[in-house]
């Protein structure tokens, strides 16, 4: 049996990684729930954000915070461009098969993008984010790092901000209206096309921030987005599409904790399997009530 100290330390680790899962879960979740696009290329916008941040640090001497912002903005631009140039044209003419068509195109973008990153940065297997000096703290018998605390703080600031925006602002009302019924929102003068772009911007930005923080901890790698993408799917679907961001975030924390605690009992090589196993079992055993998902899908495409 693990000691209490070990347990506490693993709990802290789980809360930190769980905050990262929460952030990507919220980011992908808002895209999935509002636009209905099976945005696999989230994996690509994630990775390109980290590479962009690393590159401006190296080439132009950006310090950490501006580089973080720059990286996230690059991811945002890619996300918005993908929606405008690929997903929307596809959705507008593929009718009942939209979901599959967009998934295939999104998968294609991911493969092409990931390998393009590898080709551009072919001389280095991975890329470091410069300009961040980590520090360690020892509080109440727990090892904490500055980066870990920053990760938690940023993740929850973004998640709660999004929650407040969705609940209390005009933009939030518009986004919720489009999520519930795009055609009807069109009737009352909301343009779902613009809202979709805004949602892709929000989701890609949050994903980009998560990516830069992740790369600061280790390094940017071309396929670094695969696991976060997968965790994001798990978190978003477990929480339920269209749930409040804070609720999605809490599910992310729970996934992080379960994964971290499982490391107490098994080799760390196997811990990622725990999350994949959770998803497999969840999907396999989930009671049949897909009506909400189906209804959303049938509403596609939104022709404006």
């Amino acid at each position: 049996m693990p000691s209490f100290g070990e347990f506490a330390q693993f709990t802290v680790a789980g809360l930190i990684s769980g905050s990262a899962y929460a952030l990507v879960g919220v980011a992908l979740g808002i895209i999935l729930s509002v636009t209905g696009r099976f945005h696999f290329a989230f994996m690509f916008t994630y990775a390109i954000s980290a590479y962009a941040a690393a590159q401006v640090g190296e080439s132009y001497g950006f310090s950490f915070w501006p580089a973080l912002l720059f990286g996230a903005l690059v991811g945002t631009v890619f996300g918005v461009v993908i929606e405008a140039m690929v997903y929307r044209p596809l959705a507008e003419r593929s009718g009942a098969y939209t979901l599959l068509v967009i998934f295939v195109a999104s998968l294609g973008l991911t493969i092409a993008g990931t390998n393009l990153i590898q080709l551009i940065w072919i001389d280095s297997a991975s890329k470091q984010i410069s300009g961040f000096t980590n520090a360690g703290y020892f509080i109440w018998g727990l090892d904490l790092t500055k980066l870990g605390l920053i990760q938690v703080a940023i993740a929850w600031t973004l998640i709660i901000t999004l929650g407040v925006v969705l609940s209390y602002t005009a933009l939030g009302r518009v986004v919720r209206a489009v999520r519930i019924n795009p055609e009807m929102s069109l009737v009352v003068g909301i343009n779902p096309r613009i809202v979709f772009l805004q949602v892709f911007a929000i989701g890609s930005f949050m994903g980009g921030v998560a990516a830069v923080l992740n790369a600061t901890q280790t390094a940017a790698k071309p396929d670094m987005g695969f696991t976060p993408l997968f965790y994001a799917f798990v978190v978003a679907f477990l929480a339920g599409l269209g749930s409040h961001p804070v609720r999605v975030g809490i599910v992310g924390l729970a996934v992080g904790l379960v994964e971290s605690w499982s490391a107490l009992f098994m080799s760390t090589r196997w811990t990622s399997l725990v999350v994949f196993g959770i998803l497999f079992i969840y999907v396999a055993l989930r009671p049949v009530n897909w009506s909400d998902v189906r209804r959303r899908r049938r509403r596609q495409p939104v022709t404006v």
């Binding site: 099976f38 690929v86 044209p89 596809l90 593929s94 009942a96 098969y97 979901l99 599959l100 068509v101 998934f103 295939v104 195109a105 998968l107 294609g108 973008l109 991911t110 493969i111 092409a112 993008g113 990931t114 390998n115 393009l116 590898q118 080709l119 072919i122 695969f226 997968f230 799917f233 679907f237 080799s267 090589r269 196997w270 990622s272 399997l273 994949f276 196993g277 998803l279 497999f280 999907v283 396999a284 055993l285 989930r286 049949v288 897909w290 998902v293 189906r294 899908r297």
Partner: protein
């Protein structure tokens, strides 16, 4: 020369991957991103048995293929009720779990995999060179092509395409969708396992990267590029994408490490561009290289293909009148009856006495269903009688369609008993209910859009030999005979509803009224004793309504048991021998239509006015 043969061999192996995925994705409409992982099961099995137990290729191959089929079975188990997005996630999880298990297991060589596999010996011959392997691969690829073709281009494949288009309707026609999905998952996983074995044999290696997620997407790219639902297309797709590597290396003279990246970038862009420019792939479903070539040469000549002419309702009615219906209907008499009916309205009232004397075919006792606090059906008692039309009327939200869903097993009742010809059918699955002789139509029509009108109806014909694997492979003659009979029979039903001239048209391209007639032909072709029709006359022009009513009356006069849900009171008044009135999940009145309409309280409940 050997290097060219290596590429040829690789094309053959990936053709097997692509063909099998096409059966799953293109025909059955089930997305799988785990195809390479099923290959890994095969490849690693052969490698492990060879290295650890000195097992030869043939027995190793058999074990590998069986294990891959088993893996496909396990992944397919939860797939019955999954929508596309969850199926993608499920197979993605399966791909990752299988590859992670392999990578983290030290007895399988970890990241480096199992190296130094072979040379294998087959029938006493050592497989040293690619050219030694080639003939075996060629035979396997041809065999797989033939097997996949047999599955896909047959009554079996028609069911798979039906499942792709609309599972719910397939079940209502008596198809055991679950069994079909499981079979196709297992069979295609076995084929992927075979391809995986051969990939490992060719490379003398089984490694995680050989069967990675990237490989799974490459296989998807091959199927999409070639065209889903087109087998020749898959072979072309596999050829094009495999040959990209030598193309980049030799023609564009890229360095090997760059050319492998370029190849993957090309894979990705191919997927995006194909989706944007030609989503049906190079060879669309139902075309061959020859027909495609002809169409390219003779462009414009076949322009009429796409545009659909509307048949006038009159033509439809004439079709009904002039055609010989199934079971040798006397068309003249029917035609006469039809004109009689449409001119004079209802036949002399059959009255309550006749209703009471009719044989009870379906009887419902105490049927109850609650959704949380909402009462969908409460203690329903109702009978359907032979040769009569029973109508279910009531305001919107009264639970009429729910009753159909309960009767056909689409929704499980909380309590109550449904007896069909003396047999308790409560709790049966929709396909079992259909096989017991009760079929239904749907309010929103739900034809299979990408199947022809004829194929739509053919799917409903019961007892087809070729819809089962045993018949398909063991009794080819009986299958062929049954297919001819099915086609003839379906044609008769199409002619019954006056739609023969549209038999080869894609159902999704037909006008709404025509789709309704095809759907009617489809539900009738089940030859079910009891037919439940959900708003047969809604959403269509008055002339079509006349045609539809005439057809229903013909059925009634032939002794079929019919139940309709209908809002159009003119329709109910003309057709119904007995009417149940539903409000908020309860049957609150019953009797002849005249009796019900004379009650002012019901009129108020229905129209909201006194």
């Amino acid at each position: 020369m050997e290097i060219q043969i290596t590429y040829f061999n690789t094309v053959l192996i990936f053709s097997i991957f692509a063909l099998s995925l096409n059966l799953l994705l293109g025909y059955a409409g089930q997305v799988s991103v785990a195809h390479a992982a099923f290959g890994a099961v095969g490849g690693y099995t052969v490698g492990y048995l060879f290295l650890e137990h000195d097992v030869g290729l043939v027995p190793g191959l058999v074990v590998g293929v069986v294990l891959a089929a088993l893996a496909g079975f396990v992944v397919g188990l939860p797939a019955l009720r999954l929508s596309t997005e969850f199926l993608i996630l499920l197979t993605l999880a399966a791909q990752t779990i299988i590859i992670t298990l392999i990578t983290t297991s030290s007895s399988l060589g970890g990241t480096y995999g199992l190296q130094g596999l072979g040379p294998f010996t087959i029938f006493g011959q050592k497989l040293l060179l690619p050219s030694d392997l080639m003939p075996y691969l060629l035979v396997m690829a041809v065999l797989i092509y033939l097997v996949v073709r047999r599955f896909g281009e047959s009554p079996y494949g028609r069911v798979l395409r039906g499942i792709r288009e609309d599972e719910v309707v397939c079940r209502s026609l008596g198809k055991n969708v679950f069994a079909y999905k499981l079979t196709v998952f297992s069979v295609t996983a076995a084929m992927a396992g075979l391809a995986g074995v051969m990939l490992a044999v060719q490379n003398q290696l089984a490694s995680p990267s050989l069967f990675s997620f990237d490989q799974s997407t490459a296989i998807i790219a091959m199927v999409i590029l070639g065209g889903t639902g087109n087998l020749m297309g898959s072979i072309i797709g596999a050829t094009v994408l495999v040959m990209l590597t030598p193309f980049f290396q030799n023609v564009l003279s890229f360095a090997p490490e760059k050319s492998s990246l370029w190849r993957l970038i090309a894979y990705g862009l191919v997927l995006v561009v194909v989706m944007l420019v030609r989503p049906q792939g190079l060879l669309p479903e139902g075309t061959t290289l020859i027909t495609l070539g002809r169409r390219l040469i003779g462009r414009g000549a076949s322009k009429g293909d796409g545009s659909m002419e509307l048949a006038s309702p009159g033509a439809g009615a004439a079709g009904v009148v002039n055609s010989m219906g199934p079971d040798g209907l006397d068309t003249d008499a029917d035609a006469h009856a039809l004109t009689e009916l449409s001119h004079h309205g209802r036949l002399p009232d059959s009255g309550g006495d006749l209703w009471d004397k009719g044989e009870v075919v379906l009887s419902v006792v105490g049927l109850t269903k609650h959704f949380g606090g909402i009462i969908a059906a409460e203690d329903l008692q109702m009978d359907l009688r032979r040769g009569m039309v029973t109508a279910l009327v009531g305001p919107n939200g009264a639970g009429k369609t729910t009753v159909f869903n309960l009767l056909t097993g689409a929704i499980r009742p909380d309590a109550g008993q449904i007896t069909l010809r003396g047999k308790d059918i409560s709790g049966l699955r929709p396909d079992q209910v259909a096989n017991q002789g009760m079929a239904r139509s749907f309010q929103d029509v739900r034809v299979f859009p990408r199947l022809s009108a004829l194929e739509n109806v053919m799917l409903a014909i019961q007892g087809q030999v070729g819809e089962h694997t045993s018949g398909l492979f063991l009794h080819p003659r009986a299958t062929a005979q049954s297919e001819r009979d099915t086609s003839d029979r379906a044609m008769e039903w199409l002619s019954f509803v006056g739609m023969t001239s549209f038999a080869s048209h894609q159902a999704g391209g037909l006008a709404f009224g025509q789709q309704k007639l095809v759907a009617l032909a489809r539900v009738l072709a089940t030859e079910a004793d009891v037919v439940l029709l959900d708003e047969p006359a809604s959403g269509i022009d008055q002339q079509w309504v006349e045609v539809m009513l005439g057809l229903i009356e013909m059925l009634r006069d032939r002794g079929q048991t019919i139940c309709i849900v209908e809002h159009n009171l003119h329709v109910v008044g003309r057709l119904a021998d007995h009417t149940y009135f539903m409000e908020l999940g309860r049957i609150t009145a019953q009797g002849s239509f005249e009796e019900l309409t004379s009650e002012s309280r019901l009129a108020e409940a229905y129209f909201g006015t006194a």
